[in-house]
């Protein structure tokens, strides 16, 4: 690290460089009185410079970062860190593709769509998939499921978990010949055990739980995913003061973003669809209004295209807008079936 980067005044920096002190290491062995006489400055000023220099060198050598403010990161480090983070797969390859691998940790993702499009199904799928062990390319984390609507069905979670375990054993048989290594240690029931399920019956409970999450998370560091299904439901009743609602929701979203960063976990917020009245006509949009739409950095909209379900990236700082089909099967979220199969299937019904 060079002198020019030290957070000292320009005149001090100039004096240091003209006296031949160009690197931090050259300052490491010099005494304050020697420095004072070399630069023709007061001794206390020299002590100050040495203090800054030693702090700079300590940070510089121990962390490998150049940061002067504690905890700050530069973009290069963040990029490296992001590349090392594993995504949570959605179990639908097409969907993972447009999402850049799946649901990212450290981010808040909002997913919305009409009733019956599969929001809850996707939520359950993610709560299961976050637990895929590291040796299978997963995160091996736990999930928090905050259910505000009562649509979480434990038998459906078990069904998806069973399919996930089956897929893992299939995968390991396919990849490895070693019989011992084929053993998938995780059981469907373990998967259910690692989903922390909260049923919320009012918005006061919802706000309280969001506030409590930080404490819960610090006791359960292995939680890698928080799902709120849905963020909306309790906020669409009884709120006459829309400005208050906006502030409360903004607070919730800030807290969740902080949690996501602090514990490097993924937060998925499911949202409903509503109609918006503009210029004399009704249009479809995600609920909670315009100011809420600013508070989520990533937004995916699920919609019907004919008889096929599609996901569309509506807003993201890093992904290009794209859409991909997916389907909800008895085994969970999967790639959309080829059309031919689809039509065969339907003619049987």
């Amino acid at each position: 690290m060079e002198i020019s980067r030290l957070p000292i005044s320009a005149s001090q920096r100039g004096k240091l460089i003209s006296a031949g002190y160009t690197s931090l290491s050259s300052l490491s062995s010099v005494s304050s009185s020697a420095l004072a006489s070399d630069l023709r400055i007061s001794e206390s000023e020299a002590v100050e410079i040495l203090k800054v220099a030693s702090r700079g060198s300590r940070l510089g050598w121990s962390d490998g970062t150049n940061s002067v403010i504690n905890g700050a990161q530069n973009a290069w480090d963040m990029l490296h860190e992001e590349e090392s983070l594993t995504c949570i797969t959605t179990s639908c390859a097409d969907l993972d593709n447009i999402l850049g691998g799946g649901i990212n940790c450290k981010e808040v993702m909002e997913i919305g769509g009409v009733p019956g499009i599969g929001k809850t199904q996707l939520g359950i799928q993610l709560a299961v998939n976050v637990q895929i062990p590291r040796e299978f390319g997963g995160l091996g984390g736990k999930a928090i499921y905050i259910d505000t609507e009562g649509s979480f069905m434990v038998e459906r979670a078990l069904q998806i978990a069973e399919a996930c375990v089956e897929d893992m054993s299939e995968y390991s048989r396919f990849l490895r010949n070693d019989v011992q290594a084929c053993q998938v240690k995780i059981q469907p029931k373990d998967i259910l055990e690692n989903i922390f399920y909260f049923r919320i019956c009012s918005y006061t409970e919802q706000i309280a739980l969001i506030n409590y999450l930080e404490k819960f998370m610090s006791e359960h560091k292995d939680v890698k995913l928080v799902i709120v299904d849905s963020i909306t439901f309790h906020f669409r009743q009884d709120f006459d003061d829309m400005a208050l609602r906006t502030r409360v929701l903004g607070g919730i979203s800030l807290k969740l973003m902080k949690l996501a960063k602090e514990f490097s976990l993924a937060v998925v917020l499911l949202n409903q669809v509503t109609t918006k009245y503009t210029d004399g006509s009704f249009q479809l949009t995600l609920a909670l209004g315009d100011s809420w739409s600013h508070s989520c950095t990533n937004r995916v909209i699920l919609y019907w295209n004919g008889d096929e379900r599609y996901a569309y990236i509506d807003k993201s700082p890093s992904l290009q807008s794209a859409s991909a089909p997916y389907s909800v099967t008895s085994r969970g979220i999967r790639n959309s079936a080829p059309r031919k199969y689809c039509s065969d299937h339907q003619s049987n019904v």
Binding site: P115, I195, V273
Partner: protein
């Protein structure tokens, strides 16, 4: 606040039988507890029939798929079909002879005229369930129908619609909280509206697995719109279709004329449900009740 352990509760949500094994099997055990199930249909499709039958079958013990519970029946359309309930209960008693009480004693009926009245009685319902001295605890609430309350009192203006949807969420929030707190199965019925201009704007919006709902050859969609669709957990659609069967009745009557008989076929479709895929089942309504038809 503590999370619930999913393994500490039964691995399937408790369901309440509809009183017909075919329908139960088709619907994965029938009506789930802890959530709201909506029955959507045009008039004369069997919504009320199904609700009446459900309030009887919920009294069955768990071994028979019931909740061994009494039920609360809120009706908004008058009069309440007491005679039909009596008819069904007579049949119910004869097919389940171990029951020595009159099953009608376990069905509490309350008429509701307006939305405000419904909101007013909600807290009373809660304390009624909590302090019920009846032989069986209340585990089933039926609202037949929710649409009748809303379809007259509100105008089609943005302001009224906003007020209306806020009421939807309020009612649904309270019902869900009670469903969760007492392990209730909540069933609401809803009417349909005809789709006049299909596929235009949000009118043709596809909600759930079925792109379009057809009943009696008309394209319909559930009443109360998108906001209400967000308020229910499962939506079942009862469809009917009249079939004209030409029969050559020469042998029977000997008058040589063709006799046209009308037969109504009925289906129950899953529009959306967190635990069920897209499926449908045919059923028929007889004097003895509603029964699924095996194909």
């Amino acid at each position: 606040m503590r999370p619930q352990h999913l393994l500490h509760q039964p691995l399937t949500t408790q369901k309440c039988t509809l009183g017909c094994p075919i329908l139960d099997r088709c619907l994965g055990g029938a009506i789930p507890c802890n959530s709201i199930t909506e029955l959507v249909a045009e008039s004369g499709s069997g919504k009320t029939q199904l609700c009446l039958q459900l309030s009887l079958s919920s009294q069955l013990p768990a071994s028979h798929g019931g909740l061994s519970a009494s039920s609360l029946y809120l009706h908004t359309e008058f009069p309440f079909p007491f005679r039909r309930l009596h008819q069904l209960s007579t049949n119910f008693r004869s097919s389940h002879p171990c029951n020595d009480h009159d099953p009608c004693d376990n069905i509490f009926v309350q008429g509701v005229h307006t939305v405000d009245q419904l909101l007013d009685i909600m807290p009373r319902i809660e304390s009624f369930i909590k302090n019920s001295k009846s032989r069986l605890p209340i585990r089933l609430i039926v609202i037949d129908s929710i649409a009748a309350l809303f379809r007259s009192d509100f105008e089609n203006t943005p302001g009224d619609l906003k007020k209306r949807s806020s009421l939807f969420f309020k009612i649904s929030g309270k019902l869900k909280a009670m469903a969760m707190g007492f392990g209730l199965a909540v069933v609401v019925t809803n009417q349909v509206v005809d789709l006049v201009a299909p596929d235009e704007g949000i009118n043709g919006l596809k909600v759930g697995n079925l792109g379009c709902l057809y009943s009696s050859g008309r394209r319909v969609c559930p009443a109360l719109g998108l906001a209400w669709a967000n308020c229910v957990n499962s939506r079942l659609f009862l469809a009917k279709d009249d079939e004209f069967v030409h029969q050559d009745n020469q042998l029977v009557n000997g008058d040589g004329g063709d006799f046209v008989s009308r037969r109504t076929r009925r289906w129950i479709h899953v529009v959306f449900a967190p635990h069920l895929p897209k499926l449908s089942c045919e059923f028929e309504i007889t004097r003895k009740g509603i029964f699924g038809v095996e194909r």
